[in-house]
Amino acid sequence: MAILKTEDLTYIYSAGTPFEKTAVDHVNLEIESNQMIGVIGHTGSGKSTLMQHFNGLLQPTSGKIYLEQRDIWADKSRLREVRFQVGLVFQYPEYQLFEETVYKDIAFGVRNMGLNETEIRERVLETAQMLGIEKDLLERSPFALSGGQKRRTAIAGVMAMRPKILVLDEPCAGLDPKGRNIMLRQIRDYQKKTGSTVLLVSHSMEDVAEFTEKLLVMSHAKLFCYEDTKLVFRKSEELKELGLRIPQIASVMQALRKNGYDLPEDLYTVEQAKQAVLYLLQNSRNDQINRREDGSSC
């Protein structure tokens, strides 16, 4: 059963003026629960605009959005509830920190939900732990933290609300490679642990290849496709036309296969590729040994 569904969702910026621009064009989507979903698309393809519809920050020009079969714009007074159920972390979320302490900042969203102090404390501590924010940092000012720690604090603020759907807009932008990897792993662990749906907007094909099960591809305000990650990466030519590409390792594997190496299809992470290549090498070595043994026996 789809948790979030859009019907002919269309959004036009500055409608009725000469600056009119369609940012989202008749998008039909059904998002299931308990999944990691990657959102990719060239710059200006409408990814961010689409994401802001999911929690009712933007009202569609036409079309509908259903959260658990309920039209979110049917009753505007319940929009706030929608925002607690669909968490949205913007790009560079560290610029929205404002509280005196990290603890209070993470608690801001949860407190808005109207939970009591014990519940708030429980959630903040649990979320901080999930994201690797040490306990002694919680009483520090968020402005005294390092860039990566600030980012974690801001993400924790939304995660602590335990939304059924969590949308992260480029959560790793500007982090170093090691930090990226740790962050993405923590996000995946959060997803597994809570059984929620996480939408990960990213420009890194490597990241979405490794961490997501399905991909939502946007192109020129339209939904290009929404399929299993490996099915999307089979369309390497089409992706190139959209200004995207398949992960580098997948290109290498494709080239090898073209040159007659017996590698399986759908290799798009370094780990998978390593296993396959090692397996291939092992086999060919065995073949050589067998052949040599055959030769000597003659």
């Binding site: 920050l57 607690f84 979320p93 610029y95 929205q96 404002f98």
Partner: protein, 268 residues
């Protein structure tokens, strides 16, 4: 929602008035204001009306823009009119009720005042409609440059003004983003009691200030990297150059002023 606010009301079309030297436009506007207030007679208003209509026509600014510029001062207009009606006690009494009475003098003054304020606003709005904010600050810097002799930091003032203008759209965009982010965390911005609303501004104002300071610091560094060290020996990309047309505009304005003063002298 914040984007709908028009700041710096520059309306870019191609017209004679747009092309005039901004320094002259400022002086012209000042003369226009002097003309409006140089006497309390019908001639001032008549000349002012002709002047505004003339410039409006030449500048190709749509009429509705000028109407829009009066809208925000409408309460002021009403207030001035009521005050004048109620307190000026000269001439014949036209209407009275208990202690309130409206006199001929009061009615006349209030009509004069309203017309004068409308002309003042529409006339000076034409300056900002036809001149981009950056050109305006350049012109102010140039006009105030004699003050350098008494060590008044004219260049620095103008630089601060243009930086402030430059950052208004940036900060508006930033505010929009922060508001969206805090709404996503369930912040309630547009309902609740007054105290709650003030409190709800904190999550927006603090990040906004932090980012404004950060931007200021970055800008300062960027300026120093380009060896900025004040106005001393600095040349300009856009040189302000007076042409025949500019002197022409000045002459027309002065003529208006002189004629009005003469008419006032002769007929009163």
């Amino acid at each position: 929602m914040l984007k709908d606010i028009t700041l710096g009301q520059y309306f870019p079309v191609d017209s004679v008035i747009h092309k005039l030297d901004p320094r002259f436009k400022i002086i012209d506007t000042l003369i226009f204001i002097v003309m409006l207030f140089s006497g309390n007679y019908i001639w001032n208003l008549l000349a002012g009306t002709i002047f505004v209509i003339l410039v409006q026509g030449l500048s190709k600014i749509p009429f509705r823009m000028s109407v829009k510029s009066i809208q925000p001062i409408f309460p002021v207009l009403v207030f001035t009119a009521i005050l004048n009606l109620a307190f000026i006690d000269t001439g014949e009494t036209l209407w009275s009720w208990k202690f309130l009475k409206i006199t001929e003098g009061g009615l006349q003054t209030s009509i004069f005042m309203i017309c004068r304020i409308i002309l003042l606003i529409t006339g000076s709005s034409l300056l900002t409609y036809t001149t981009s904010p950056i050109l305006l600050t350049d012109a102010i810097e140039s006009l105030l440059s004699p003050l350098k002799k008494i060590k008044f930091p004219v260049h620095e003032m103008a630089m601060m003004m243009s930086i402030a203008l430059r950052f208004i759209p940036t900060l508006i965009e930033e505010t929009d983003k922060i508001m969206a982010a805090q709404k996503a965390r369930g912040a309630m911005l547009d309902n609740g009691k007054l105290l709650d609303r003030v409190k709800a501004m904190i999550p927006i104002l603090i990040p906004l200030f932090v980012s404004a300071f950060r931007r200021a610091e970055e800008l300062a560094t960027a300026m120093e990297c380009r060896c900025y060290q004040g106005g001393e020996g600095r040349t300009r990309l856009r040189q302000l150059q007076a042409t025949g047309k500019d002197y022409c505009s000045l002459t027309i304005c002065l003529l208006f002023l002189i004629i009005v003063i003469l008419l006032n002298c002769i007929y009163n």
